[in-house]
C-alpha cells in the first residue's frame, strides 16, 4: 500500500508544480500581489511532496519490496544496505525522481534566498522553475513511473544492482552531478525571468552570479567524482574517455565557466548582456542534452540506461519547448538590449571576451564530436565513431591559449590597460616561468621534454601571475597583511579557481604524456618491470565478500630493491546475478599512482594483468577541488548581500524604471 502513497504524493506534487508554474507568472504579468506571493509556499509544498516520494521509494528499496518494479530490477536482498538505498538511482525511473527532487530543492533555495529581489522577479523565476518541474513530473507519470508494481506476482528476489555500480563512486557521483546540472535550471530561470520582465540589467547579472558560481562548483565536483570513479572502477587506467555521456556535462561545464566570466562583465560594465543571456540558455540546454543522451539510448555508452524511444521523444519535447521558447523570447527581446561599447583593445573586457570565445568554441567542438556520429548515420546510414584524437587535437591548442591569456586577464583593467603596464608587471614573470619550465622537468627527468616544459611553464605562469597580482594589489597598503585582508572573497575565489586550473593542467599534461603501462601473463613469483618499478606477483587466494566471491592476487611493487606498495586486485563474481567484476588495486600518491588491473586466471595459476604507473594523476582531481572551492568562495562574497540590500532600497526609491543601459519595459509586459 505504501508505494501507492508515493504515487499519490507524486500526483499532488504535479498539481502543486502546475500551480507554481502558472499563478506567480500570471500574477507578475497582471500585477496581482496575492498570486505572486503564492510562489514561496507552493515551492515549499512541492519540495515536501517530492521529498515524500523519494522517501517512500527509498523505503521500498531498504525493505526489499520487490513488488515495486524498479526495486525488483535494481536491487537484491543480499545487497549491502548502503547500496540498497542508493540502488534507487541505479536505474532510469529512480534517478529521474532524484533529479526532479533536486530541482525542487533548488526551487526552495531560490524562494528562501531571494528576499532582496523584487517580488515580480522572484515570482517569474519560481514560475519558470515550476513549469520545468511540472514537465519533469509529467514525464515520470507518463513514461517512467518509479512506483509501478510487478503484476500480478512479484518475484521472490531482485535482479541485483549492476556490479559495476556497487561502489562508493556510485553513491557520490550521480547525486552531485545532478545537483550541479539542475542548478543551471535556476540560472536559466533567472535569464528567462529577466527576458520576460524586459529588465536585463546589472542587477539581474548580480543576482545570477552566486547561483551560476555554486552550480558550477557542484558540477565541477560531480564531473571530477565521475572521472575518479571511472579511473579506478573501469580498469583501463584512464580518467577521461570522451564518452558520449561524459561530454554533455563537460559542454555544460564549459558554457558554465564562460557564463561566470561573462556575468562579471555584464554586472561590472553592462556590456555583453545578450551574450550572457544566451550562455545561460546554452548551459541549461547542455544539461538537458545530457539527460536526453543518457535516457534515450541514442548513443553507445557505458552510461546508457535501458532505452525506450518514447522517453527520448518526451525529453526532446521538454528540451525543444523550454530552450526553443527561451530562444524565441530572446529573439524578440535581444534587439532591444542596448550595450554601451566603450573599451580598448587591451581591456579586461577583451580578455574576458577571448576567454568566452575559447570556452564556447571548445564546448561547440565537443558537441559536434559527440553528436556527429548521429547526424552522419541519419544522413548516410553508415555507422561511425569519433575517437579521442579528435577531441585532443582541438582541446590541447585551445587550452594552451586559454592558459596564456589566463595569466594576463586578471591583471588587466576594465576599459583600458596600458601595454607598458602589462609588460612591466608580467615580463619577468613570463621569463621566470619559461626558465623554470625548462629546468624543473630537466632535473626530474634528466632530459628535455617539450610537453613537460609547456605544461610546467604554463602552470607556473598562471601561479606566478597570481602571486604578482597579489603583490601589485597590496603594494599601496602600509602593511602587507592589511592589504591581503582588504581583498574580497570574490577576488580570492577567482584567483583560487585559477590556481586550480594550473594544478589540473599539470596533472592532465603529465599523466597524458608520461603514463606507462604493460599487459602481462605472470605465474606466481614472476616479476615485470615498468620504468623504475618492478611488480612481483606473489600468488592468489579465494575470499568471500558479503554478496560476492573473489580471487585475490597479491602484487608487491618494488623500487630500487625496496618494497613500496602491496596491491591486492580482485576478480569477483556476484552471487545474485553471476556477473563477473574486476577490482583494480591502486597505490595512490601525490606524485604517482601505481595501478594493477587483473585480467583472468589461467589453469596453471598464472594471472593476466595490466600494470600502470601514472604520474601526477591525482593533480587532476585536486585541481578540480580547488576550482570548486574558488567558485564557492566567490559566491560567498559579502558584496552580493550588501549590494542586494542597497538594491532593495534603491528599488523602493526609484520605483521600477529601467536602469541606465537596461532595457525599458515593453508596454504591457513590464511590472
Amino acid at each position: 500500500m505504501i508505494p501507492e502513497f508515493g504515487q499519490f504524493s507524486l500526483i499532488l506534487a504535479f498539481c502543486l508544480s502546475i500551480l507554481l508554474g502558472t499563478l506567480p507568472l500570471a500574477g507578475a504579468a497582471m500585477g496581482n500581489g496575492l498570486w505572486m506571493s503564492l510562489g514561496r509556499p507552493l515551492s515549499a509544498g512541492l519540495f515536501v511532496f517530492l521529498g515524500i516520494c523519494l522517501f517512500i521509494l527509498g523505503h521500498a528499496f531498504v525493505t526489499d519490496d520487490f513488488s515495486v518494479r524498479v526495486v525488483a530490477a535494481q536491487s537484491n536482498s543480499l545487497l549491502p544496505m548502503q547500496y540498497k538505498l542508493t540502488a534507487l538511482w541505479g536505474g532510469h525511473e529512480g534517478s529521474f525522481l532524484l533529479w526532479t527532487f533536486m530541482l525542487s530543492g533548488w526551487i526552495l533555495a531560490v524562494s528562501v534566498f531571494s528576499g532582496s529581489m523584487p517580488r515580480e522577479f522572484v515570482a517569474r523565476v519560481l514560475g519558470v522553475l515550476g513549469l520545468l518541474c511540472a514537465s519533469y513530473i509529467l514525464f515520470m507519470l507518463a513514461t517512467s513511473n518509479p512506483f509501478d508494481r510487478m503484476a500480478p506476482v512479484p518475484p521472490a528476489d531482485g535482479a541485483d544492482l549492476n556490479s559495476a555500480l556497487q561502489d562508493i563512486g556510485f553513491i557520490l557521483h550521480p547525486p552531485t552531478l545532478y545537483m550541479g546540472y539542475v542548478g543551471y535550471s535556476v540560472v536559466f530561470a533567472f535569464a528567462v525571468a529577466a527576458l520576460l520582465s524586459g529588465r536585463l540589467d546589472a542587477a539581474w547579472a548580480r543576482w545570477s552570479r552566486p547561483w551560476a558560481n555554486v552550480s558550477w562548483a557542484i558540477l565541477t565536483i560531480g564531473i571530477a567524482l565521475g572521472s575518479w570513479w571511472a579511473y579506478y572502477e573501469l580498469g583501463w587506467g584512464g580518467w577521461w574517455a570522451w564518452d558520449p555521456v561524459e561530454n554533455p556535462p563537460l559542454i555544460t561545464w564549459l558554457f558554465g565557466a564562460a557564463l561566470i566570466h561573462s556575468l562579471a562583465v555584464t554586472e561590472k560594465r553592462r556590456v555583453f548582456k545578450s551574450w550572457t543571456v544566451l550562455l545561460a540558455i546554452l548551459a541549461f540546454a547542455g544539461s538537458l542534452l545530457g539527460t536526453f543522451i543518457t535516457r534515450s539510448g541514442l548513443l553507445t555508452s557505458v552510461h546508457a540506461f535501458a532505452s525506450d524511444p518514447s522517453r527520448g521523444v518526451f525529453i526532446l519535447g521538454i528540451l525543444g519547448v523550454s530552450v526553443g521558447g527561451a530562444l524565441l523570447l530572446y529573439a524578440f527581446r535581444a534587439p532591444l538590449i542596448k550595450s554601451e561599447f566603450g573599451f580598448g583593445s587591451l581591456s579586461r573586457e577583451v580578455f574576458l571576451l577571448a576567454n568566452n570565445i575559447i570556452l564556447v568554441v571548445a564546448a561547440a567542438s565537443v558537441f559536434l564530436g559527440t553528436l556527429f556520429p548521429m547526424f552522419y548515420q541519419a544522413l548516410t546510414g553508415d555507422l561511425i565513431s569519433i575517437g579521442p584524437p579528435y577531441f585532443n587535437l582541438i582541446f590541447v591548442p585551445l587550452m594552451i591559449v586559454l592558459a596564456m591569456l589566463l595569466g594576463i586577464g586578471p591583471m588587466s583593467r576594465w576599459k583600458k590597460t596600458s601595454g607598458g603596464y602589462l609588460r612591466r608587471q608580467l615580463g619577468r614573470v613570463a621569463l621566470a616561468s619559461l626558465a623554470l619550465g625548462v629546468i624543473l622537468p630537466l632535473i626530474v627527468l634528466l632530459e628535455i621534454s617539450l610537453p613537460a616544459t609547456i605544461a610546467v611553464a604554463l602552470a607556473l605562469w598562471i601561479a606566478l601571475t597570481i602571486g604578482r597580482d597579489l603583490l601589485a594589489k597590496t603594494a599601496n597598503k602600509p602593511d602587507r597583511w592589511q592589504g591581503l585582508r582588504s581583498l574580497t572573497y570574490g577576488y580570492y575565489g577567482m584567483q583560487g579557481a585559477h590556481f586550480g586550473v594550473a594544478v589540473m593542467l599539470v596533472g592532465v599534461a603529465l599523466t597524458s604524456w608520461f603514463s606507462t603501462e604493460t599487459s602481462v601473463l605472470l605465474r606466481p613469483g614472476e616479476t615485470v618491470a615498468l620504468g623504475e618499478y618492478e611488480f612481483r606477483f606473489d600468488g592468489s587466494e579465494r575470499i568471500a565478500g558479503p554478496n560476492y566471491q573473489a580471487d585475490r592476487a597479491a602484487v608487491l611493487v618494488i623500487r630500487d630493491g625496496e618494497p613500496v606498495a602491496d596491491l591486492y586486485p580482485e576478480l569477483r563474481v556476484y552471487l545474485a546475478s553471476g556477473a563477473p567484476s574486476t577490482e583494480m588495486a591502486i597505490d595512490a600518491g601525490l606524485m604517482r599512482d601505481l595501478f594493477v588491473t587483473p585480467g583472468e586466471i589461467r589453469d596453471n595459476g598464472a594471472w593476466t594483468m595490466t600494470v600502470y604507473v601514472k604520474p601526477f594523476v591525482r593533480w587532476i582531481w585536486l585541481g578540480a577541488i580547488i576550482m570548486s572551492l574558488g567558485a564557492t568562495l566567490a559566491a560567498a562574497d559579502r558584496r552580493y548581500r550588501k549590494l542586494a540590500r542597497m538594491r532593495r532600497e534603491e528599488a523602493v526609491a526609484v520605483g521600477s524604471a529601467g536602469e541606465r543601459g537596461g532595457l525599458r519595459p515593453a508596454p504591457g509586459v513590464g511590472p
Binding site: 546508457a304 525506450d308 568554441v361 584524437p389 587535437l393 601473463l521 556477473a579
Partner: protein
C-alpha cells in the same frame, strides 16, 4: 577616418571572425581525420574494406571459437552476424564481459590474410544490453536479433 570606438569594434569583430574561422577549420580537419567507420562481418566478408584501413567491426563472439593461448596474452576468436564470420586476433586482456555468444565491438585493421588484427576489444558493461552498432550489424545482415539468445534490455 573612423571614430576610435568604431575602429575598436571593427577590430574585435575581425578578431572574433578570424578566431572562429580558424576554430571551424581546425575542427573540421580534426573531424575528417578521426572518423572510424563501423562495418558488420557481412560487409567485411564482401570485401567492402581494404586491408590496412582502421575501422570498427561488431558482432557476436561465435560459440566455440575462442582460442586462448595458455602461455601468452594472444587470443583468437571469430565474430559473426550469423551470416558471415570474420576471424579476429588480439593480444591483450579481454574485458570482463567478453564471452562466447556475447556482442562485442573491436577496433583495428584487416591484415593481408583477411584476419582482423584488433587493437582494442569492447564489451558492454551490462550483459543484457546490446550495443546499437552490433544490433545494426545484425539487422543489416538480415539476422533478426530476436531469434538469438540474448535480450535487448531487461524489460523485454
Amino acid at each position: 577616418m573612423m571614430k576610435p570606438h568604431r575602429r575598436n569594434r571593427l577590430g574585435i569583430i575581425l578578431f572574433i571572425a578570424v578566431g572562429l574561422s580558424v576554430a571551424i577549420g581546425l575542427t573540421l580537419f580534426a573531424l575528417s581525420q578521426n572518423i572510424n567507420m563501423f562495418y558488420s562481418p557481412t560487409a567485411v566478408a564482401n570485401g567492402e574494406v581494404g586491408a590496412g584501413t582502421m575501422f570498427r567491426i561488431g558482432g557476436m563472439v561465435k560459440d566455440g571459437s575462442v582460442d586462448q593461448r595458455q602461455d601468452s596474452l594472444a587470443v583468437r576468436f571469430v565474430t559473426t552476424d550469423y551470416v558471415h564470420d570474420v576471424p579476429i586476433e588480439y593480444e591483450g586482456i579481454l574485458p570482463d564481459l567478453f564471452r562466447e555468444g556475447q556482442g562485442i565491438v573491436a577496433e583495428g585493421r584487416l591484415d593481408a590474410a583477411g584476419v582482423f588484427q584488433a587493437s582494442r576489444v569492447l564489451a558492454k558493461h551490462d550483459e543484457n544490453y546490446m550495443s546499437p552498432e552490433v544490433r545494426a550489424a545484425m539487422e543489416q545482415a538480415g539476422a533478426s536479433p530476436e531469434n538469438h539468445p540474448f535480450r535487448e534490455s531487461p524489460e523485454d
